[in-house]
Amino acid sequence: MNKHILLIDDSAEDAELAVRTIRKSDSSVKVTWIQTAQQTMDLISNYNDPLVDSESIDLVLLDIKMFELSGFDVLTKLRSRIFSKRIPILMLSSSKIEKDIAKAYELGANGYVQKPADYKEYNAMMTTLCQYWLRINKA
């Protein structure tokens, strides 16, 4: 079954770069991009039981600093639902703020990723991370 990554980021440019990067490393991976707060909340409340849902999610990439809602709130909600309890969630941010990093892990994130400004670095990092987490999840 194809891997499925859920990307929650309100920046269209960042999202496109992420999608391109992921697809470049593995074109079979399905990426669902959610941009707005409403879409995110809808997804969380409407999601069915993972055992009967074929559209299961293998990895969530979640931006912390979004315009309409905080990545931390989304993280909390995701971790409170049965379907998403065991899905790896990586928090994305442009900066490394120590208290944000701590908070992310406290709320149940599996990783904190600082997005590099340089695309080459960004590319390399995302590829490695996605490959790693998708493989871990399989096992």
Partner: protein, 516 residues
């Protein structure tokens, strides 16, 4: 009936030579009047005392003329009074000063009535007495006392006089006024029992002990509180000074109190002012700190927010280059590379700025560091990054320093990195690292034989984004040295540089030996 003696002629009193001599010595002259016989007699010395020639004929009227005007009537009145009530009389007469021939100025005239068997006054006997000298003495004494009293009372300080046992003899008006008491009410009281010292029991006891010590000849001085009229209190600097006689025994004690409430108040005001000032400085410092923090967090968030669009520029231009490679001609590729190159430069700039703001905010955690090791490690790392034309680096044996290890390493990275960069175009690039102890600090020096700089043109060398060389020749953002300065400042050290264009530059920094 009013008896007037004015027209009585004065006869010479028959006296012996002995009598005259005694009278001269005693500065007295005797006289008598017999009203019934209308006779009056003066001894020789009475004439002399008045400066009158005893061989001439005088009446009392002439004598009165030599006295001041007012005395004539007064004398007559007294005589008549004595005739009536038989009381002795005594009057001091001033001899008219215009009468130059008369040397005596004041005579005391005393008289007793002579009574007959019917108890009637029929005459009087009296003496003239020259009281000039005794009067002078008395005046001197009075004057001296007046002067003493003036000083004693005019003083703003509380002054008194005590017997050696502490009983009060005198207190000046300042003290009496303050206490709202009369001298009579406290005279003879032990000083510690006087109203001034009834403020606190321990003050009273302290005074008693002080007076006992002073009574043994010691000067005692201390600060105490006294209480005055209406319960007002004063803080006084009280001294008790013993006055000794020729044999060294204590005769008197002089207590003296200076009001130091004002001084206290001024002192308190000074303390208050200082506190206020400290508070102001504290507030201002806090404001400044806040401003600094605001600026730093501003720098941080700016550099953070700049990263996202930069990532888009860098990302999409690289995607363009990769995916539309063939659609672009040579000029298209060149333009695209300009975009990519600049976005990379900006990315470095933002990273440096972030590092700078992080350095500013970071707390210094000092540990013992082997400076030689740090230099070696940094040089090895940099050698791996700059394989081309890597300079010869001579590093002296360096001391153990007390610094934040991460920050210290950053300083060395930046300084050695700079030295490598700016000496990269020299023929035989060489870097020397040395250290010596100066006063209470280690002074490090990193020097190179590179492009150097003009010291006259080096203002702002350690400020953010200040560069002495264009980035065309030497890459860089102008943040490295400001980070060095920031770190050294935080360690309580100093940083400076000297340079000669095209000959090299030396960068110095100090680290205190001890941190207090």
């Amino acid at each position: 009936m009013f008896y007037s003696i004015e027209n009585l002629v004065i006869d010479k009193m028959p006296t012996s030579r002995f009598d005259d001599q005694v009278e001269t010595m005693a500065k007295i002259g005797s006289w008598s009047i017999d009203f019934e016989k209308s006779e009056s007699r003066w001894s020789l010395n009475s004439f002399n005392l008045h400066g009158l020639d005893s061989n001439k004929i005088w009446t009392w009227s002439a004598v009165f003329n030599s006295y001041e005007d007012s005395t004539k009537l007064k004398f007559n009145d007294l005589v008549n009074q004595m005739i009536r009530d038989h009381h002795p009389i005594s009057i001091d007469l001033k001899i008219n000063q215009s009468e130059k021939s008369i040397s005596r100025l004041i005579l005391r005239v005393q008289a007793l009535p002579i009574l007959n068997e019917r108890n009637e006054c029929h005459g009087m006997i009296g003496v003239f007495q020259d009281i000039e000298d005794s009067l002078n003495h008395k005046n001197l004494l009075l004057d001296s006392e007046r002067r003493f009293k003036a000083i004693f009372n005019q003083s703003f300080q509380f002054v008194g006089l005590l017997k050696a046992d502490g009983s009060l003899i005198e207190a000046n008006e300042t003290a009496l006024d303050f206490g709202g008491i009369s001298l009579e009410s406290v005279k003879g009281l032990k000083f510690w029992d006087t109203p001034w010292f009834q403020y606190k029991a321990e003050g009273k006891l302290q005074l008693k002990k002080a007076i006992q010590s002073a009574g043994k000849g010691r000067l005692i001085r201390y600060e105490t509180e006294i209480i005055g009229v209406g319960g007002s209190t004063l803080t006084v600097d009280l001294s008790i000074r013993p006055i000794l006689d020729e044999k060294g025994a204590v005769m008197y004690l002089i207590p003296e109190g200076r009001d130091i409430s004002d001084k206290r108040e001024v002192h308190q005001q000074l303390i208050d002012l200082n506190k206020e000032l400290e508070l102001k400085v504290e507030n201002r410092t806090r404001e400044l700190q806040q401003t600094n923090e605001d600026l730093e967090s501003f720098a941080y968030s700016i550099s953070h927010d700049l990263r996202a669009p930069l990532r888009a520029i860098s990302g999409f231009s690289q995607i363009l280059e990769e995916e539309y490679n063939e659609a672009l001609d040579e000029e298209g590729h060149r333009l695209l590379n300009v975009i990519i190159g600049n976005s990379q430069k900006m990315s470095t700039l933002i990273d440096d700025l972030l590092l700078f703001s992080r350095t500013s905010r970071k707390e210094v955690i000092r540990t013992e560091i082997n400076a030689s090791r740090v230099f070696e490690a940094v040089i090895t790392e940099l050698r791996n990054e700059n394989k081309h034309n890597f300079p010869i680096i001579n590093c002296d044996e360096l001391p153990i320093v007390f610094a934040d290890s991460g920050m210290f390493k950053q300083v060395i990275v930046n300084l050695i990195g700079n030295a490598i960069k700016y000496s990269s175009k020299a023929n035989n690039p060489t870097i020397n690292v040395s250290c010596k102890k100066v006063d209470k600090a280690y002074e490090f020096c990193v020097s190179d034989n590179g492009i150097g700089f003009d010291v006259n043109n080096s203002k702002g060398l350690f400020q953010v984004f200040q560069r002495l060389h264009s980035s065309k020749n030497f890459e860089g953002t102008g943040v490295g040295l400001s980070i060095v300065k920031k770190i050294i400042d935080k360690h309580g050290g100093k940083v400076w540089a000297v340079g000669v264009p095209n000959e090299g530059a030396s960068f110095y920094f100090t680290l205190p030996l001890y941190y207090e």
